[in-house]
Amino acid sequence: MSAPDENNKSSHTQLASHFFSELLDSVIMDVASESHRIARLGLDRNLDDEEEELRLSAQARARLADPSNSEANSKYVVDIFGQTHPPVASEIFDCMNCGRSIVAGRFAPHLEKCMGKGRKARVKATRSSTAAAQNRIGRNTIKHRRIRRH
């Protein structure tokens, strides 16, 4: 009984190896064919360029992170047209809300105050603290009611 089983096993192993090799060679053939196509069509050109770009952007990031660079360069950054810009926008124009002459670089903080006029600035803080207090009171009342029912 055991002898034919052993024969079976070893022939199974052999056959399995044979078919595995066949499958593997088939996959290898597919990969070679795919790579050949990519090579002939120049599709890997982008890959090389991408690798190059990744390297360059990593380099650029490293340069930015380097503290010795930032102070000197940030005020004189050059854009793609070769123009440099001063750090604070210095143009002066009239605010459309209140009509005053405002420096562009100070316009945003000006608007914050300017558009809140008619009430005090920072009304939001008051509202939220009142709301929190009312919530607390409301919750206690509900608890009371529940207790009375029982």
Binding site: T13, F20, L23, V27, D44, L47
Partner: protein, 112 residues
């Protein structure tokens, strides 16, 4: 290899001394294909070889070979000869074991 494209003459019925009985591997191959198992096994193998980075390795070898030999000079044959020995050696043992196990199960279930 013949230079002519003419087909060789069909063997006559006299050529009976040729073994017409399909061999065991041939029988199994037919069963594998007909049941769809061969396709599934190949897909499994492909998937595992991608997961473990084997395919990337092979493609990288092909790219560096292409750079050296020149894009227009590379043939499929070149690449096959390049990656076959390395490809066979680079298959992870776990992947090989998994596939062999699947194939053996099939052989057992096919009652051979």
């Amino acid at each position: 290899m013949r230079a002519s494209i003419k087909r060789p003459p069909t063997p006559d019925a006299e050529d009976e001394d040729q073994d017409r009985e399909p061999t065991l591997p041939e029988i199994i191959n037919i069963k594998l294909i007909e049941s769809g198992e061969k396709e599934r096994l190949k897909e499994l193998l492909r998937e595992r070889l991608i997961e473990c980075g084997w395919k990337d390795e092979m493609k990288s070898l092909c790219r560096s070979f292409t750079r050296k030999k020149g894009r227009s000079n590379v043939t499929v044959d070149d690449l096959v000869h390049l990656i076959t020995p390395k490809g066979r050696a680079a298959v992870p043992d776990s992947v090989k074991a998994e596939l062999l196990q699947r194939i053996r199960s099939f052989l057992q279930s096919a009652a051979l």
